[in-house]
């Protein structure tokens, strides 16, 4: 009787250990989540139409371990939509979310903005031997007029880092570094938009 109880407990313990082992071997998924402030800048007198391509929402980056196994999966999710929702209304006189470039004329917008992620890089302290988590994101920001004629293809790189902390998980730190990178993107976008030579030229010709 006693032996049966011992066997039952041993089985449960081994089962628990197996679940823990399998879980610790799996990929950790991180959906970027954060809060973004609205910029404190003078509005540009333009009506902007923004298209959120499905690839931007579905974007995910996989970090592989040194033996080639999936280690972390970073998903963009709604983060860019949240960022642009906070950013664009403070930057432009009018913001319209468009389904496609074809609806730009009927919505009477001056320019159409189509953001896309070209590259994503992640640096973990376990690999760099630094006490920081780092994220780089390279964007391609397509800006065209209401008829779809290209004005600029603006390549913008953003960077975010966060120090390692004893009580914070790796997933949380990666998210934090990604949120800092998104804030960096927002600040460069806000201050640099009117400085892009092609956009500046287009603005001066209006």
């Amino acid at each position: 009787m006693k032996r049966n109880i011992f066997c039952q407990y041993t089985k449960k313990l081994l089962g628990g250990c197996l679940i823990f082992f399998v879980q610790s071997c799996g990929t950790s998924s991180i959906v970027i989540e954060g809060q973004y402030p609205s910029p404190n800048v003078t509005k540009i007198p333009l009506s902007i139409g923004v298209i959120y391509p499905q690839e931007l929402i579905d974007f995910n980056y996989v970090e592989y371990s040194e033996i080639g196994e999936e280690e972390y999966r970073v998903q963009s999710g709604q983060s860019h939509r949240d960022l642009f929702d906070a950013l664009l209304p403070s930057m432009f006189e009018r913001v319209v979310v468009l389904d496609s470039i074809e609806s730009a004329v009927s919505q009477e917008v001056d320019i159409v903005f189509l953001p896309a992620i070209e590259e994503f890089q992640l640096a973990l302290p376990s690999k760099t031997k630094l006490d920081v988590f780092e994220v780089w994101v390279k964007y391609n920001l397509r800006i065209s007029d209401s008829e779809g004629k290209g004005i600029a293809d603006w390549i913008l790189t953003s960077y975010g880092k966060t120090p390692t902390r004893t009580m914070r998980s790796v997933e949380n730190s990666i998210n934090q570094a990604a949120v800092v990178a998104l804030r960096d993107f927002a600040s460069s976008f806000t201050l640099g938009f009117s400085q892009v030579p092609e956009i500046r030229q287009w603005l001066s010709q209006r």
Binding site: P39, N40, V132, V180, R183, D184
Partner: protein
């Protein structure tokens, strides 16, 4: 016989543990102040303490900035401190790691923007303090091994390490657009981790000491005198 053994253990606990705790509390802190201008603050004016985060290998921890802020805004001669996060968000995108002013000349240029100066006035900022620095751990020695068996679990061994904190605070007078001074703080201390069945951490509060000394000095500095 048993009584004698208990007595010996009690003696050990009464004399050795407080000695070790005393040792652990020994942290040496040095504060240097370099004043470049007169200071003083009115009751309706405030201070904002910001961390420098431009460095590639380290960044001034948010917790340390908050700790210094708490120290300055508490006690008898408390000064109003605007929380870093609240200020940086309200001033977005002007105080991000890549866009923050590196010198008073940049601040002068930034204040020429009406939206920035209006926001700064709303907060009533008189002094802007830039904290820059980090805590480094070095000289890790010793080892601790832990075992668990059917009869119980326990650890045995000894570990020690040294923490060094180095921070500087640059104080800018927002009203006169001048650098009015710098306060440097260096703190170091040795931590121990003896393990005799259970590990007893005897941690030197290096960063906490650097924070309290820097906070007190900063409070006195902006108050002038």
């Amino acid at each position: 016989m048993n009584k004698l053994r208990i007595h010996k253990y009690l003696e050990l606990i009464i004399f050795v543990v407080p000695f070790l705790l005393f040792q652990s509390a020994c942290t040496s802190t040095t504060v240097d102040e370099f004043r470049q201008g007169a200071t003083g603050i009115k009751t309706d004016e405030s201070v904002v303490i910001l961390g420098r985060r431009q460095g590639s290998e380290y960044e001034t921890r948010e917790e340390f900035v908050d700790c210094v802020g708490d120290r300055v805004s508490s006690g008898q001669d408390a000064v109003t401190v605007i929380p870093e996060r609240e200020f940086v968000d309200a001033m977005f995108p002007w105080f991000e790691p890549r866009t923050a002013p590196m010198g008073v000349s940049n601040l002068e240029r930034l204040m020429a923007d009406n939206l920035v100066s209006e926001q700064m006035e709303k907060f009533g900022i008189r002094y802007m303090v830039w904290l820059d620095g980090f805590t480094e751990t070095s000289g890790r020695t010793g080892s601790i091994s832990c075992t668990a068996g059917p009869g119980g679990a326990g650890c045995f061994g000894f570990g020690s390490w040294e923490d060094d904190s180095s921070f500087n605070a640059r104080v800018w007078d927002v009203k006169s657009r001048q650098n009015v001074g710098t306060i440097n703080t260096d703190a170091s201390g040795q931590s121990y981790l003896p393990a005799l069945v259970i590990p007893i951490p005897l941690i030197a509060r290096v960063e906490a000491n650097a924070c309290s000394r820097l906070g007190d000095q900063l409070k006195a500095f902006v108050k002038g005198g």
